[in-house]
């Protein structure tokens, strides 16, 4: 049985995603534990030049085709499946990202390999593969054993240190012929860049970020008032944007923006993994939530288990009167 590890490298517009380096770091651990090789898998058009950034891998398998110039789930899944069939690794790591959600389950479905999603950790011990998945909104962790010869693990961003996987080098290149791509049922049309909002939350040093605990749009005034008193801006988790209460430009998280303010005050935010991905780099994180087991308290430096409508006005008043 192979002990090799393959990492599907994620990139967009020629830029490698941070999670790709994280997966290489984790992949190196796995390969070392099983005595196997670590492969990076690059899929695209004109992407071979990116192999030089993947020095953490022993080899880089490249699938090049002009029809892979832009990400489409169908073509990339076929290309990734071709690469994995050629490499036959014990485990393939795929990012638990927007693109990875397509690829990981798609590969599992088409190749018939087991899939562990939302992985915080993966380990190979004595030939046994185990994976720790963060499920139920981050409230519980499921450790699973994965028998068989192959598996796909979808890795959550932040599961490993990117620095350990970020190494330039000259890994062995292996060209994988592109699979049949002449009967595709989807076509890439265009890439749309985010519209600039009235406030650039990536540049703010203080963010008061609001989640579904706010209850209604009218209640946002409580948060706005505190943000104004602190000289910061209001950001939010996904549900607030989906409700139409704040514009997309204020959304922090996986499909929103990544922020690194000096202060991130999370109010009424439970802390789903998708949100935490976008704010874990804040210097100081303070969370206010009524649920003492909310996952946000696991990443926050300070926590307040209370109704935000009790604490925020008191804090706002204090900040205003002391200014």
């Amino acid at each position: 049985m192979s002990s090799d590890v393959a990492v599907i490298i994620e990139h967009l517009e020629g830029v490698l995603a941070e999670v790709s380096f994280e997966m290489l770091a984790k992949g190196r651990e796995l390969a070392a534990a099983g005595g196997g090789q670590l492969w990076g898998v690059l899929i695209g058009h004109g992407v071979t030049r990116l192999a030089g950034e993947l020095g953490a891998a022993d080899g880089v398998a490249v699938v090049e085709d002009e029809r892979l110039a832009h990400y489409t789930p169908e073509a990339y899944e076929r290309a990734a499946a071709a690469a994995l069939q050629a490499l036959g690794p014990r485990v393939a790591l795929v990012a638990s990202s927007s693109m990875g959600l397509d690829l990981a389950a798609g590969l599992s479905g088409t190749l018939g390999w087991p899939l562990c999603g939302y992985c915080k950790d993966v380990a190979l011990t004595g030939g046994t593969l185990s994976a720790v998945s963060q499920i139920y909104g981050g409230k519980l962790m499921a450790t699973a054993e994965v028998p068989g010869e192959h598996a796909v693990c979808a890795m959550l961003p932040g599961a490993a240190a990117a620095a350990a996987g970020r190494r330039r080098g000259t890994a062995t290149l292996r060209e994988i012929p592109a699979p049949a791509l002449d009967s595709l049922r989807m076509r890439f049309k265009r890439l749309i860049q985010p519209e600039a909002g009235d406030v650039d939350i990536t540049r703010e040093s203080i963010l008061v970020s609001v989640g579904r605990g706010i209850g209604s749009q009218d209640n946002l005034a409580v948060v706005e008032e505190l943000a104004q008193a602190l000289g910061g801006a209001v950001s939010s988790s996904r549900p607030i944007v989906d409700q139409g209460w704040l514009p997309k430009s204020r959304q922090v998280g996986k499909s929103g923006l990544s922020v690194k303010p000096k202060l991130y005050l999370a109010v009424g935010i439970s802390g789903a993994p998708e949100h935490i991905e976008g704010m874990r780099g804040a210097e100081l994180i303070v969370a206010i939530n009524t649920d003492p087991s909310a996952p946000i308290f696991d990443v926050a430096h300070y926590g307040i288990v209370s109704d935000l409508f009790d604490v925020l006005p008191a804090l706002t008043e204090k900040v205003k009167t002391s200014a």
Binding site: A131, G137, L140, P194, Y302, A323
Partner: protein, 257 residues
């Protein structure tokens, strides 16, 4: 256009989740279930397409517990048909297993477009929509936030990437989409209308076919995350914790001078 929306019941994350005595699964007798939030967006997306362009919307759910009222709610919101797939699902079902069951059930239901919530809190072994697409051999796109017809046999969809970047794709029908968010918040169905439908409408039922698909992996431990980086909790009355937080912020120079 025939649109099928798959919906499922999932543990309500607002509640405390209890693990069973073996430490390998939820204590399902103590779980309060609700409709998967992402599935509500999938339904809303379907209803928006119906409102704008005309469509027949069928909602399909595995009978994994207390699913009748949510299905009547889907009808009250505007779905045309509701199909309950009956079977022994009380102890949970792997996503691979659910996809295998639904793929067979969909063999008997017209579907140009299948919409599922992009993910669910319990899909440890993959997202249902993608696995369903694989079983049906249909194209799929995940993390979709907009769907518009593109002629009679295709749709234009928007797929979100990190940083707010969006990819626009044209996808031939039939196809399966994993809906992240509908173009508007899921609509509300008045309780009175749901109650009325529970008296006058009927749910169609289909017995689940036998499938063998499991997750391919076995959970050996289900537990709360180890609180390695647990926050320091500030305790006291709201005024007191506000004062302490103010002091912390002031000490760190985070307040305007």
């Amino acid at each position: 256009m025939d649109i099928v929306v798959t919906v499922k019941m999932v543990p309500d994350l607002v509640e405390e989740l209890e693990v069973n005595a073996e430490g390998t699964d939820l204590d399902r007798s103590a779980v309060r279930l609700r409709l998967n939030e992402f599935d509500e967006h999938a339904l809303e997306q379907a209803l928006v397409l119906k409102d704008r362009y005309g469509a027949r919307v069928t909602v399909v759910a595995l009978d994994s517990g207390d699913v009748d009222e949510p299905l009547f709610t889907c009808l009250a919101k505007g779905a045309d048909r509701a199909v309950k797939v009956t079977g022994d699902f009380q102890d949970g079902l792997s996503t691979h297993g659910a996809a295998a069951v639904l793929a067979q059930v969909l063999g008997g239901i017209p579907h140009d477009l299948v919409l599922a919530g992009v993910q669910a809190p319990d899909d440890r072994d993959g997202q249902l929509g993608v696995l369903l697409a694989a079983a049906l051999r249909l194209p799929h796109v995940s993390v979709v936030t907009a769907v518009e017809p593109a002629g009679d046999r295709a749709v234009t969809v928007r797929q979100e990437y990190a940083g707010g970047v969006v990819g626009e794709l044209e996808v031939d029908l039939p196809a399966v989409l994993g809906v992240q968010a509908a173009p508007q918040a899921p609509r509300y169905a008045p309780v009175s209308k749901v109650r009325q439908l529970m008296k006058t409408a009927t749910l169609e039922t289909v017995a689940a076919p036998a499938v063998e698909a499991g997750a391919g992996s076995t959970v050996t431990r289900l537990a709360r995350p180890e609180a390695t980086g647990r926050a320091e909790i500030l305790e006291g009355a709201p005024d007191e914790v506000a004062d302490r937080l103010y002091t912390i912020l002031a000490d760190r120079g985070l307040l305007k001078q």
